[in-house]
């Protein structure tokens, strides 16, 4: 989920919405899109409960096969599984805020709110993001060596769907 969030942000911030308004790589226009994209676009709109397809997926849609796989990975990462989608959007918001993503920060904030997170919940995530952005910089600046790794037992849980070793 962290990886795919960053992947979407990199393209959205870098190509889909260049400073000054234009796009360096124009997204596919939904109205004139290849008919083979109709199902994919409908699924994306339904997943996010919005009337349009976010530009990042429409940039990818310049190659329909790539867009389909990117979307399948995104949907898999964000769908309700052991972790709820509401929490995953909060994590993606924290990732986007930390990496100063102009696309990801408002996008995932909007998703958090749509999934029921209130102002209080948003501020909780902002607070954690802010305090740990402080701790991490202090630790890096002073080159502190990790001494917290043994405060909990090693978790040998497999990745979702994977076999237990």
């Amino acid at each position: 989920m962290v990886g795919i969030t960053n992947a979407l942000n990199v393209v959205a911030d870098g190509l889909a919405a260049a400073p000054g308004g234009g796009a360096l790589l124009p997204p596919v226009d939904e109205a004139t899109a290849d008919p083979q994209l109709a199902g994919l676009f409908a699924e994306i709109r339904a997943f996010y409960a919005r009337p349009d397809v976010p530009a990042v997926f429409r940039v990818a849609a310049r190659d329909p096969g790539y867009a389909a796989d990117l979307w399948a990975a995104t949907r898999r990462a964000f769908a309700d599984q052991r972790l709820a989608r509401r929490l995953k959007e909060a994590l993606a918001f924290a990732v986007s805020l930390t990496t100063r993503s102009a696309f990801g920060t408002p996008f995932h904030l909007g998703e958090m709110r749509r999934l029921g997170v209130t102002d209080r919940g948003v501020l909780e995530v902002v607070g954690v993001t802010q305090t740990f952005s402080s701790y991490t910089k202090i630790a890096d600046t002073l080159q502190l060596e990790s001494d917290m790794h043994d405060i909990a037992p090693v978790d040998d849980s497999p990745a979702p769907g994977g076999p237990r070793p």
Binding site: T118, E124, V125, G127, V128, Y135, L144, E145
Partner: protein, 84 residues
């Protein structure tokens, strides 16, 4: 290797050692020496005290659980490429 010498717990004044006790309770873990970050934050209690309180306020259960907030902290640390 740290760029500064981290003092041992015994080198700190009593108010700072109280902070170490609070950190031990927070993590529910018996450290041999207080964690490096705790010892750094205890250098200046007028900074480390409120910083730690802000962290505890942010990490306490609310709309998100403490466990969920630990995940947020983990991803923030991850994207900041912080190994600590």
């Amino acid at each position: 290797m740290p760029t500064v010498r981290l003092r041992d717990a015994s080198e700190y004044p009593e108010p700072a050692r109280k902070l170490f006790g609070l950190a031990r309770s927070w993590f529910n873990h018996e450290f041999k020496e207080p964690a490096a970050m705790s010892r750094v934050m205890a250098w200046d209690l007028e900074f480390g005290g409120p910083h730690g309180r802000a962290m505890k306020r942010a990490m306490g259960p609310g709309e998100f659980t403490r466990a969920e907030k630990e995940m947020v902290a983990a991803v923030v640390s991850g994207v900041n490429a912080c190994s600590y």
